[in-house]
Structures are given as C-alpha cells and as structure tokens.
C-alpha cells in the first residue's frame, strides 16, 4: 500500500477532471490508487473481509460517480474519499443496529515482566486490531488514519474536520484508551 503523500493528492486533480469527462482510464487509476487503502481502513473498523469489500466498493463507486458533488476547494480528493468511507462505515453500523465489535475474549495478550507495563512488542497484530475496535468511533478513526494508513496529523485533521491540535490530543487519548483496553485483557 503506497503512503498517501501530498503529491498523490495533487496528482488527483487532472484525473478527476478526466473522470468528469467520462474517461474510464482515469477512473481506473483513481480506483487503483485508493481501493486498497479504503479496504484497509474499513477492514480495520469492521474486522470482516466481506463487509470491508462491500463498503470499499461502495465507497469507490460513490467517489467516482458523484464527482459533481466534489468541489476541490481546500479539501483534497483523498480526504473526500476517506470521509465517504467513514460515513459508509457509520451507516453500516446503523443498519446493523449496533456496533459490531469483535469479542476480545478470544485475544491473548502477553504479560510483561513488569505487570504495570504491556509487552508491546509481543502483541500480535490481531490483538491490536481487536483491541482497537473497543475504542470510541473517533479514537478508532484517528489511530487507523495515523498508524495503519500512515497519514500525517494534518492529513488526518482534514479528513476528520478537526484542527491538527485536536487530532494530536485525540490521538494521545486514544493511545491511552488502547493501552487500558490491552491492560484489561492482561488482567482478566
């Protein structure tokens, strides 16, 4: 998965214009550029490959067929796509009637020599993904964008509609919450 740099966002503009004129090649390039990232983002939220596929496809369809709603006025296309993915995820939760949380009971969190500390390096990827889903919506979003998607605080701020400072504060709280969730697993 390619990192989402500023250059990629800038490169989107001529492609967007071509898609508006019906150019399928340009649509394909944007699809290739974003599909994996969006799939990864949605999967991190839901934890189910089938749902992640459906929502990633839905997100790309909406993004590339509703370009008349997208106006490049300070908001990058990438931010717009992530917002669509986020809204699709929220809609999915609503349709399900509740948040789909993968049960943590199945996770096994390693204990450090010092009981007050997590053995972070020994945590499995699945443990981390599952623990992350126990956080609030915004906390999940900020950690996924910053660490799974490797976005800068400024990019995450644009996607979340917050200031950079607010994102940094939220990130700090989210990491603290994640640590507590993982500790809870250790102590249970």
């Amino acid at each position: 998965m390619q990192p989402l740099g500023k250059a990629a966002s800038d490169d989107d503009r001529p492609l967007i214009e071509r898609v508006r004129r019906g150019d399928q090649d340009a649509a394909r390039i944007l699809y290739e550029r974003y599909f994996d990232r969006i799939y990864n983002y949605v999967y991190a939220r839901l934890g189910r490959a089938e749902d992640a596929e459906d929502l990633a496809i839905d997100t790309m369809t909406r993004s590339l067929t509703r370009l008349d709603l997208f106006r490049d006025q300070g908001v990058a296309f990438s931010s717009w796509v992530y917002r669509i993915a986020h809204n699709a995820t929220i809609d999915h939760y609503r349709r399900q009637g509740k948040a789909i949380l993968v049960p943590l009971e199945s996770a096994t969190v390693p204990v450090s020599a010092d009981p007050s500390e997590l053995a972070v390096d020994q945590l499995s990827n699945d443990d981390l993904r599952e623990a992350l889903r126990a956080l609030t919506d915004e906390q999940q979003q900020v950690l996924i964008l910053r660490f799974f998607q490797d976005l800068t605080a400024a990019q995450a701020a644009r996607i979340m509609g917050k200031s950079v400072g607010a994102v940094q504060a939220l990130q700090h709280r989210a990491l603290g919450s994640l640590e507590r969730v993982l500790h809870g697993r250790t102590n249970n």
């Binding site: 998965m1 898609v19 019906g22 399928q24 090649d25 649509a27 394909r28 390039i29 699809y31 599909f35 994996d36 799939y39 990864n40 999967y43 991190a44 490959a49 992640a52 596929e53 990633a56 496809i57 790309m60 369809t61 590339l64 067929t65 500390e117 997590l118 972070v120 390096d121 945590l123 990827n125 981390l128 993904r129 992350l132 950690l143 910053r146 660490f147 799974f148 490797d150 700090h172 990491l175 603290g176 994640l178 640590e179």
Partner: protein, 242 residues
C-alpha cells in the same frame, strides 16, 4: 519525556508496524467491474447528446440482466475458475459493441488491465501456467490497442496522437506494476515470463508509432501478430484459455 509518553510512543510504533490487510485480487476485480458499470451509467446519464451510445448501453444492460447470475458471477472470475470461459464470452460481446476507434482502443486497454490483474492473482496462487497465459493476453491486448493507434495515423492524426499518449501512460503503469510483481517473485520461470511481458509491452509502443502502409490505410503488422483476427478492429478478445 514522561514514562507515560514513552509507553504510548512504543504503543504507537507497534501500531505502525501492523501489516496492512489487503483485499483479494478477486475482490478487486469484482469491485472494478461494479465501479466501471456505475461510472459508465453515470457518464451516459450526463451525456444526453449521444442517443446511440445510450441505446447501446441500454442493450448491453438488458443483455446482462437476461443472461443473469452466471454472467455476473463470471465477471470477477479468474483463469482457474470454472466460470472463466463465460467471462470470455462477455468480453467478446463487449468487443463487438465497440465501434469507434476510441471505443475499440478503450476496450483493448481495459482487457489488458484485466489480464494483468489476473496474472497477479495467478502468480499469488502459484499457477504459473495460467499467469503466463494471462501475461500473453496482456501483451496481445496492448498490441491490439497499438494497432488501433496505427490505423488512425492517416485518417485522424490528432486522435492517433491522443490515443498514443494514453497508450504510453497505460504501458508505463503496467510496467510499474510488472516491475513490482517481478520484485516479489523468486521463481525463475515467473521472472522470465514477467520480463518477456515487459519487453513485449514496450514493443507495442513501437507498433503504435509505425506509419501505416499506403494500401488503403490498413495497419502494418508486427512480428507479434498472430494472423487472422488480430487486426485493428474490435476482434474477439484473447482471454487465455485453460
């Protein structure tokens, strides 16, 4: 730095190292087919001045609905799937409905991308025989696209230049993907197949740049032509067979 900040920094670093979860190649193909259909529908809705195109799209849509679930399921099938031959039929229908040079060109480029995605999937599944066929199909489609460009050089040089530019971009993108793929495989046969595919893709550019012969504007042939049915028209596709 306080102990709490240090702990959270370590946790953040650990999160950064979590491997990304990627979609399956089949899901990616299925997604593109659905997105492409939506984009085409969206474009046709905007394009009120092209009634013939709308009629063709309506006919294609009706045909797709009539053929039903099997065809839909075949759209994202891969070369090792039982539904793959049906995909070939659908692609042939699409080719038959591509009348203008631009449509033919787009058709061949689209199939080239599909073949490349299939090749990636087959390599991931260690089906090197099918991967080789898909790569061969990729090159055939690029060559067909190049022949469309070549055929337009006399009749519409501006269009030919535009198409050639798109072909250059497409081949560059394919080459980038193939290079990435080449870096991931270790099997010598797979590496050789990918190398050959990259070379043949580059040859397609030379074909596009060649002047057409003067005998009625027919495109000149290249060493990679395979005989009848491989001309500039929207000929039946070259989906690799099992």
């Amino acid at each position: 730095m306080t102990p709490e900040v240090q702990r959270l920094e370590r946790l953040a670093e650990r999160l950064r190292s979590v491997d990304p979860v990627m979609p399956s190649p089949g899901a990616k193909i299925r997604g593109w087919n659905l997105v492409l259909a939506a984009v085409e529908q969206s474009a046709s809705g905007r394009s009120r001045s092209h009634p013939v195109r709308r009629l063709v799209l309506a006919a294609v849509a009706a045909a797709v609905l009539l053929v039903g679930g099997a065809v839909a399921a075949s759209a994202d099938s891969l070369p090792d799937s039982a539904l793959y031959p049906l995909k070939a039929v659908v692609e042939n229908v699409r080719g038959a409905l591509a009348f203008s040079p631009s449509d033919k060109f787009a058709y061949h480029l689209d199939l080239a991308r599909t073949r490349l995605t299939e090749a990636e999937a087959m390599i991931a599944r260690h089906r090197l025989d099918l991967a080789g066929q898909a790569l061969s199909g990729l090159n055939d489609q690029l060559n067909q696209a190049a022949l469309v460009v070549q055929a337009e050089q006399l009749s519409d040089p501006a269009l030919a230049a535009s198409l050639e530019n798109r072909l250059v971009q497409a081949i560059a993108m394919h080459d980038q993907q193939l290079a990435g793929l080449q870096g991931q495989v270790t099997n010598p046969a797979a590496i050789a197949a990918i190398t050959q595919a990259r070379d043949r893709a580059a040859q397609a550019l030379q074909t596009a740049a060649k002047p057409t012969s003067s005998d009625g504007g027919k495109p000149s042939t290249t060493s990679s032509d395979k005989g009848p049915g491989n001309g500039a028209s929207a000929t039946p596709h070259t989906t690799p067979k099992h």
